[in-house]
Symmetry: none
Subunit: 248 residues, 2 copies
């Protein structure tokens, strides 16, 4: 679990800011709100948040200007909220150096994922000792979330971004079955789009972590439901024991 952080949310729409705040608080963060540019800059000055979530469409005030002023305070990470289709904002935002951006309409889960990711990167860059690299293990599979590296039996795996996220999530919830839609929401952060995307990534991940991808023993498919990462049976390690119910 990520540690808590101070987050400043800047948006003039109370509906959006309330929802965003609720979600971030649920993740264990402390949240402050600002509805306009000046108060945002002032709050940033006084409270020195660990992360700023900034809507670019502020009334009567240029969001970019707010961004520049906040950035002068120091290397505070910023996530920008932009409207879909506004390629201009997005490009400009990234050029300015925003750590990440999220296009509206967005799912709160997506924002939470981005926020945690940005915070993690920021802490790492800041040289925070990073208490004992966050490790997760199942069978001979090991993942270092902070170091963004996965190994099997000590051998590093060449996972892509999505594959890593998927494996990290499954390793965090071993033995639990998830539907494709759930995985789409929890790993991808959104749930529109084709569910077969999940299927394809599971297949690609199996190619890299399973000994026999055609007969997966770790990343099992639960028919009619979805997928599950099985913790290894504490019993036989290499014995040719019948696969119990895994058959078919």
């Amino acid at each position: 679990m990520e540690t808590s952080a101070d987050v400043l949310v800047v948006d003039d729409d109370p509906t959006v800011s309330e929802v965003v705040a609720a979600y971030l608080r649920r993740c264990g963060h402390r949240v402050r709100l600002a509805a306009d540019g000046p108060s945002a800059v002032a709050t940033a000055h006084l409270k020195r948040p660990d992360l700023v979530v900034l809507d670019l469409m502020l009334p009567g005030f240029d969001g970019f200007e707010v961004y520049r002023r906040i950035r002068r305070l120091g290397p505070v990470p910023v996530i920008m909220l932009t409207a879909r289709g506004e390629e201009h904002d997005r490009i400009l935002g990234l050029e300015l150096g925003a750590d990440d951006y999220v296009t509206k309409p967005f799912s709160p889960r997506e924002l939470s994922l981005r926020a945690n990711s940005v915070l993690r990167r920021a802490r790492q860059a800041a040289g925070v000792p990073e208490q004992a690299a966050e490790l997760r293990r199942v069978a001979d599979l090991e993942i270092d979330v902070t170091g963004h590296q996965a190994t099997r039996g000590g051998v590093p795996l060449a996972l892509t971004g999505r594959e890593f996220d998927l494996l990290a999530f499954l390793l965090a919830h071993p033995g639990q079955a998830f539907t494709r839609t759930e995985l789409m929401r929890l790993v991808w952060g959104w749930d529109y789009g084709d569910q077969s995307t999940v299927t394809v990534h599971v297949r690609r991940l199996r190619e890299k972590i399973e000994q026999d991808p055609a007969q997966p023993r770790l990343l099992v498919t639960v028919w009619g439901v979805g997928y599950r990462l099985d913790p290894p049976d504490p019993q036989e390690p290499g014995a040719a024991s019948a696969d119990g119910g895994a058959g078919r």
Copy 2:
């Protein structure tokens, strides 16, 4: 039972809300109903449910407004019911903030899965240590609802979806007899269709959980009524266990 939770269902259509309530009760939850926005908010205030299932199409009251007011009470998980066919963008916008949403028409399995996983995540976020895998046991039969896995004496069973649902339901109500029609309605979610479907699935389930499927001792048939999952008599098994006057 750790799975049970207080659920508030908000829908103006009694047909829908009753069906939803039935689905949730079959999962072992306690359900309250509210037909309009104000009473929903009031009930949420008074009863502090663990989960809210909220229909967005409330008459004369914006469902999203209800959501915001309920959310102010605290981090209550919310599942939204939306009608299919609404513009995708609208759904996305409304989804803003919901823990999950289900599009109508929905299947009972769908709602059950979502409700359970939302509750699980909420408990997890609330600091309740996970690990509390939802288990149900009778005799040497054990079922892990979150992992969608059933075992007998520790050995995994290869159950199909329906078989799993059926066994899960019976394990939630041991010692209680159900007619085929009841099982059809409570497990399948509809009350039309051939009752022999239930018969066939019971038979297949017996093949997998009974030691001698020809003489079932766990999944007993109550003649003229239906079926019942018997908790094992810890004492003598061969006794002439008169099933009382259950006959007709």
